[in-house]
Every structure is written in C-alpha cells, then in structure tokens.
Subunit: 297 residues, 4 copies
C-alpha cells in the first residue's frame, strides 16, 4: 500500500520502519530532515512536506509531539488535507487533546477525508519490536482499512469506539494511570528507604508477584535506583498529558484528585530543574525528596 | 510435622487445609468453634485454646484479624507463649502494625521462642489454590524451618529480611499500592462514564494490555460494574491497613499523599454506610460519586 | 468628569451608582438593557454600545463577567478601543486571567490608550456602601488619574505595581485564599456536626475571636447553617477564578495543592447540581457531605 | 483564692503571673525548677510536686506540653488527684487529645473532683497581656467557679458546652484552621515570588484589608520574609495538634483533606530538618520550596 508517514521521532521512526519492512511503500516527512536518513536508507522516499507525503497515499500516518505540531502538518498549503486525494485516510497516533481530536475529525469529514485516532502504549523499544498496544477509534469503514496496518505495528489493537476522540481519551486515561503508578511507587520506595529496606528489594518482591504489569517492572527499578535518565518517556511529555487529562476531565465535570496531585508533583519536580533530559519516573523524585531519601542530583 | 494453627477465617481456613493436605498433623483453634468443622472433618484436631494448639507443635501459625486478636491468642494463660515448648517457632501471617511485630519478636525472643512474620498477598480463592504470594522475614535459622512450609501454601515465598517487622511493612506497602490502584481505577472509570465510554470496555482494554497485573484485573471489572459485594477483602480491613501504613510512615517520617487521600476516601465511603459487607473496591465509589456517575446503593 | 461605565451586574451597578452620586457624568452600557433603568433614573445616560459609552469619556470603567465579555466590549467596531478618544484611560475591574490582562495592556498601549487593572474585594452590599477593597496596578500617570476615582468607590485602594496584570494576579490570589477558607470552614463544621457541637456555636466562638476577618464572619455562618442561597458570589464565578488561578500558577511553575483540592471540590459540587443559583459557600457542601452531615438539598 | 498552678512554660508562666497579680495565692510547680524563680520572686510559693500544689487549693490549673505530661502531673502518688481536697476543681488548659480529655473528666468525677477544659488561643505575648481567647467546657457548677478566674487571664471566655472534651476539640479545630491558613499563605507567597511581586507587599495588601484577622497578620509577614525563628508556636507542637485533630476526626468519621495535606507537609518539613527551634510558620516552607522560591536555610 502507498503510505505517507509524518513524524519520525523516537516513536514514529520505529513504527515507520516496521511498516516499510512489512512491504508498504512509504513517503516520509520529518521537520528536521536528518532523522529521515535511516528510513531513506531502508527504502522510503523522503519528501519535503506533509502535502507531498499525502499526495498519492491511501493512508497517512502522523506521530508528532503535540496538538500544535499536528495542526501544523495537517492544515495549511503544505499540509495533509491540502495534499491528500479524496477518500484518503489519516491515522493519527499522537497523544493530543480530546478537543483537538474532535475538531480534527470534523475538519477531515468536511474535506472528504477519513480520520482514525490510533493511540499507542509502549516505549520506543516496544515500538521497534512491534510490541505496542494500540487503541483505535473511528468510523467502521475507516477502521476496516486501518486495523490491518495497525496490527503490523503493535502486538494488539483494541477498538475503543466509533468516535476518534475516544481513543485519545483512553490514551490520556492510560497515561494518567501510569503517573498514578509512578507516584505510588515513589511513596512506597520512600517508606522502604526510611525503614532500611533496600527499595530495589521491595520493588523486586512486589513487581515479580502481585504487581507484575509492565509499567511496575519498568518504572519500579528506575525509581528504586533513582535512575531518571535517559528519558524513555520524557518528563515534559508526561506533564503535557496530565494537563490534557485534567482539561478533558474538567470539561466532563470529573474531579480527579490523584491527577491533581500528580499535576502538583510535575510542577514541583520541574521547579527543581528536571526536564526534557529526564524520564517520567522522575515524577517520583518528590515523594523521595519529601521523605529525605532522595539523592542529590 | 506437628503444627498448631490458630485463626480459621476466610484466609486461615484454606491455608490450614492445604497444610493438612500436605501431610502435616494439625491442631487447630478458632475463636468461634463452628468454623473448625471442615478442618476436623478433614483430619485436624480441634483444640480449646491457642496454648493447647501450641503444646506439642514444632511450628504454630496464626492468621487472625488484627493486632488485638494476635495479642490475645499469643499472650495470657491460654496463649501460644504459655503453651509452646522451648524452641518452637511462631509464624505470624496476620496483617499487623510494624510496632506490634517488633514487640512480638522481642517477647518471643525473651521467651526462648522463634518468630517469623510471613504475610501473604491474595484473596481467599488464591489461598485455596496455593497461589498466595508470601513475604517472609525473620532470623536465618527460623526461616530455614519456615520456608518449606510456606512454599506449601503459596506460589512463591520472598524473603524480605532478617527482622520480622520488615515483612509486615512490605505487606502494608503492598496493600497501600492496592488502594492506590483502586482509587486510580475509580477516577478512570468516572471519566469514562462521563464520556459515554463503557467503563467495562475501558477496563478491558487497559487491563488486558498495559495494566495486566492481577489487581487491575480483579478490581477493574468490579469498579466498572460498581459491584462491591460480596467482600473479597472487606472494606474495614483495608481501612485498618491504611491506618497502619500511615502510622508506620509517620513514625518513619515519610509523607504519603496518596495514602492520605485514600484515608479520606475510606472515611467518606464509610460515612455513606459502606462497611464490612462491602469489598475494598467500594473505595472507588467516591470517585464515581463525585463525578455524578455512581449508582445509588 | 465624563465617565463611561460598562457592565451593570451585581457589582457594576452599585459602583456606577456611587460614581454618579459623587458628581460624575456617566454614560452607561449593559448587554441586557433592562439593568440600565435604575442608573438612567438616577441621571446616567444609557447608550447602545461600549464605543458610544467611551466616546467623549476621559475614563471608561468595565466590570464584566469574564475574559470573553471583556474582549467583546473592548474590541470590534462597537468596542471601547474603537470609540475612545486618544489618551483616554480604561479602568478594568473584572476578574480576568493574568494572560488576558497582559494582552489588553499591550493592545491599549498600541492604540494610544491608558489601561489600569483595578480589581475589587467585596460583595454587592459592600460595593453599595463604598466598602470595597481595591487593588490597582498600572503606569504611574494612569494611576494618578485612576486613584481618586477608585477612592470614591472603595474604602481603600492598594497599589500593587506598575503592570496592570499584577492587580489581576493579586485578585486571583485573594479569591484563592477565600476558597481555602471556605473549604477549611467546611471541614471544621463537619467535625463539629459529627461531635454534636452546634456548628453555628463553633463558628461564633472562632470568628468573633481569633478568626475575625470578614470572610470568616460572612462564610462561617452560611456554612454552619448550610444556607447556600441566594448567591452573593456565585459558585460558577468562583470556579472560574480557581481555574484562572491554577492556569496562572501553572504558567509560573507553582504547585498549589490547596487550589487543586478546591478545583476538585468545585467539580464535585457542580456534579451534584449546585450552580449559578448558589453561593461560593456551597463549596463547603462536599466536606459536610463526605462526613455524612450535609442536609439533603 | 488559693490556687495551684502546674506548668510554667512559655504559656503557663505568664498566665500564672497574671493570676498572682490579680491577688490570688499561688502554689506553683514546674518539672524543671529553674523556671519557677520569677514566680517565686513575685510572691508565689514554689512546691515540690503537683500533689503539694493541689493540697489546699480550691482550683488547680495545669498548662503542660502534652497528654503524657498531663497524665503524669495528674495521677500517681505525687499527682493532683492524690493531693487535692474533695471538691477541688482542676482547670486543664493544655492542648490534649479529645480521648484524654474524656478519660480525665471521668477519672476526676470518680475521685470527687471537678474538671474543666479551658483551652486558649494566643501566643506567649498575648498571654502576658491577658489577651488570650479562652474556650471553656464543663459542668455548670464547675464553670461558675472557673469563669471569673479565666476572665482574669484572657480577653474573652467562650463557653463551648458541658463536656470538657468539647473545649479540647474546639481548640484542635482552631489550630487546624491556623495550619490551613499557614499553608494557604505559603502557596500565595510562592505565586507572588514567582511573579516578581514582593510577597511582603502581597501580604500587606491582603492582611490589612480582607484578611485582617490576627493569624494572617502574624503568620503572613513571617512567611513572606521566610523568617521561621524564633518559635512562637513551635513546629513540633503544631504537628502534634494536627495528629490529635486527625485522630479525633477519624474517630468521628470525618475526612479532612486539608488537615491530611498539612499532615504531609509537617512530615516533609521535619524531614528537611526543621524542628523545635522553628515556628509553625515553617510549615509554609514546603509550598515555597516546591515553587523553587524558598531560601536555603
């Protein structure tokens, strides 16, 4: 299939590679062109704008940093909507706001294009190994086209519903649950540290038994070791998602006290100087610091 | 081996049954004698006091409701310490305070008895299936005697350290993590409910993929369905453990904001009338109610 | 002095009346014209647009509901900027976002107009009695013109600084402190209620002694009596200000856990059905309800 | 009147001095005898035990640090109960737990002695100036004896109810409200600091207008200046009272999220090394530190 792929960051690059390896023809676009080289070497065509990437494509994927980036590659003279042929399908994998997703779906519909939100759970190494968990939402005929492709990039594809924004909301909920888990592990390790129990031993005991889901096994040792670099899921991206979660919850009229607590933790840990060079696990630094067991950084 | 077993509640009864089925001779004691019948039928000797249960035993297990119950079966004329022969080992499986565990260990040492804390994770059905996760702590020679027995009642036995109270602290931390998870699921389902996403679909999507640890899979559907009865882990017991966690954390000088939030949730849900007839998952009722999506009960 | 006055709501109307009574000539504008009658009767000229209100005025006051309302009366063909003569001064009394205030100041500067933020503390009856506390910020020469007028509408005028937005931030901080106080009183009355101490007696004892500031004396009895109507400061306006406070704090990188808690309380109390017909004091309903002492409404 | 007075700390000493100055005969006892000198010099009789202080007294006052200290001066061979003549009245001014107050009242009743709880609001300088606010509770005939004496040490005496513990609960509620106010001021000053508004200017603007109650005027400038020494109300005593408030609230079934937040703040600020040498206002350090505007100490 002819596929356009826009956004070759830490997540987009391995997903695009996997689509290419599955036999599709890819036209790829990335804002900073140096990241396109590995794809070009593997056989993709590198193009100069999202519009050109979309030009003859049946499906265009986007995996970009945030709402603003998605707006900018989608609209305008050089954007996907301007370049796409009638009936083409845009599969948006970025973590964006529920509001943006609603508006994007409407704008595509007006332009005679399809739109599916297909958000993913997993870090870059999972993406490389086609181990992502994909959550997709969209109209039935759009999903019919999207699902086989999505199955080529993830280990499972769950269908959330028929409105694209629903997949974005589930993604935000999932990321909220991740941050809740990081904060919880931070408090647990703080107690262990103060009680002269090695936090790594605590984490090992709990995450190999009751709490054996991947996020516990990934974040637990990082927090126990206070090893917050390099970033797998960069702290500011996690903070952005918390903001989107709280905005969606407020619009829906749902109080989320754990998300509010995490919001305050993000602000505090950022005020300490943690940032793009740090992983989401650094959120747990506050719980450790407040108990006096954080190591100076 | 000759074993005394005290406390045949929802957790104690299946554990005792499994020890019996493994070929040990059991003398069992329970405060309310009617619960002893199934064990007697299966070959255990039912006795009239903890002292008698301990009398000729190499090892005495206790699995009772709280600190006070453990004190009462351990001390006094009819207690374990009074009845046990020198060198016998007391394996305490109850979820008790760190402070109590410290004092119990000291008292046993003075009395020439061994003491091991072996706390367990799992609900009654896991106990019946020998699927408990056991966390044990105690002196090396006591553990040498305890571990083979514990392996007969659980699927894994982790050694926390050489001080019995350490196993009790790990248990409290684990239960704290459970309550954090329940609250998190409550907030997640509240958002879904307000967004016209079926909470059960949300839970299914997340707990079969990223969040696939047993507690998510057990509590998620219960919370999504707002099905808080019958109690697997009774709400007031969870509240007691939260209290013990906060007391231990305060003594150690560790702030635990998520545990504090959960503490306030327990009080609110109890003020609504939830109690011993409800499961720990009812903790999530507050998050649902605050969003206006709780069903009247 | 010739004065334009835009916005004759619960706060704007008494302030405008006082300016009129102080001998100024007023041209007043209000979106819903029926609210202009009392002013017309007292001698003000009622006009059909903000532009006309501003036309020959030396100073234009605005006191409107929110950022959007202020934008709409300020800009556009019928707005203040379009109608005002060069060098006129806009005194903005509305509670708006820090961001809006920054942008408004810049736009007025570009248009050759003066801009002062003069936010007020006090409820409608205080406004009527010229008992408002005014917080003003702006350039020195603008303040020179504004302060004498502001002294005619309030009992004191504090100068916050030379940037108008600073007065808006102080207003948001003050309203945050109000909500913190309401929540605190709610928790206090919940304890009293559960302890069979009459909450009204508690409030009387504390607010006539240590806690004798006006907000305690205003909100305390309302909360003790659970009398949340009529609205003095309408609940949704308080919620809006909480949102603006959190947005300003987030932009500045400041975690505000009490403001976050209040944010969640607003969402919960709104989900119960409290709204524009209720006073800010209804925020305390949640604390009372969570203890089981709220009266059904 | 013959009065026994036990406990000559920062609060007890000026209260005792004032009773002496009002013409009563005082027998005073203090654990560390050096603090008795000023009273002896002023005409009081210094005695060697609470029992002797109580011996011929019609009324015995106690003002000691905590529950344990009050138990120790009240009971035992050398205690008040042992020394007092039948019908004597014990006026307990210490901030103690509701539970202790209940038990003390019962024990005095059994011993044929009267018991009144008369808690006080104010710092040592207020005590010296007879400016304390007193909250009293007890049986009518006991209050009849107590009130005239209490009016000699405070500017007002409020009667809470007929059960002594009610005065203790009101004291705990009042101190809870103080800590809520300190936290609130901390968050407010953190915002100001980050916005380049001088926190001292903010505090001056708000505490001379809307928030003009004494605690705002006392704690506001201290927090704005980050001047946490010397202790007026020592941090660990405030922490103790928070613990007693939460214990009373838990027993009553009342969630107090602001008190829970303050509880966590106390633990965090203690973990930083703040302690008995610091004032309660240091509680606000956490809000400032989390925004990155705390000065290193």
């Amino acid at each position: 299939m002819e596929i356009g792929f826009i956004g070759l960051g830490a997540m987009g690059a391995p997903i695009a590679s996997n689509l290419l390896a599955s036999g599709h023809q890819l036209r790829v676009y990335n804002r900073s062109p140096e990241r396109t080289e590995p794809l070009r070497a593997a056989g993709a065509t590198v193009v100069a704008s999202p519009a050109v990437a979309a030009h003859s494509a049946e499906v265009v994927f986007t995996m970009v940093a945030d709402d603003a980036a998605l707006q900018s590659v989608t609209f305008g003279d050089m954007g996907i909507v301007a370049g796409a042929q009638p009936g083409a399908l845009h599969i948006s994998m970025s973590t964006i706001s529920v509001d943006s997703a609603r508006r994007l779906a409407a704008r595509h519909r007006e332009a005679g294009l399809g739109f599916v939100s297909a958000t993913v759970f997993g870090r870059p190494d999972s993406a490389a190994q086609r181990k992502l968990f994909v959550m997709a939402a969209g109209a039935e005929d759009h999903l019919k086209l999207a699902l086989p492709l999505l199955q080529q990039v993830g280990q499972s594809v769950g269908v959330v519903g028929s409105d694209p924004w629903q997949a974005n909301l589930v993604k935000l909920i999932g990321n909220f649950m991740l941050t809740a888990l990081v904060e919880t592990l931070g408090e647990a390790c703080a107690v262990a540290g103060k009680a002269d129990i090695d936090p790594m031993r605590l984490v090992e005991l709990l995450t190999t038994t009751v709490f054996n889901a991947p996020p516990y096994r990934i974040y637990g040792p990082a927090i126990a070791a206070q090893r917050f670099q390099p970033p797998g899921f960069a702290l500011p991206l996690g903070q952005k998602d918390n903001r989107l979660m709280l905005a969606a919850a407020e619009a829906l009229g749902v109080p989320m006290p754990v998300a509010s607590l995490v919001h305050d933790r993000f602000l505090a840990v950022r005020a300490r100087g943690f940032g793009a060079a740090h992983d989401l696990s650094a959120l747990a630094f506050e719980a450790l610091a407040n108990a006096g067991v954080a190591r100076l950084v």
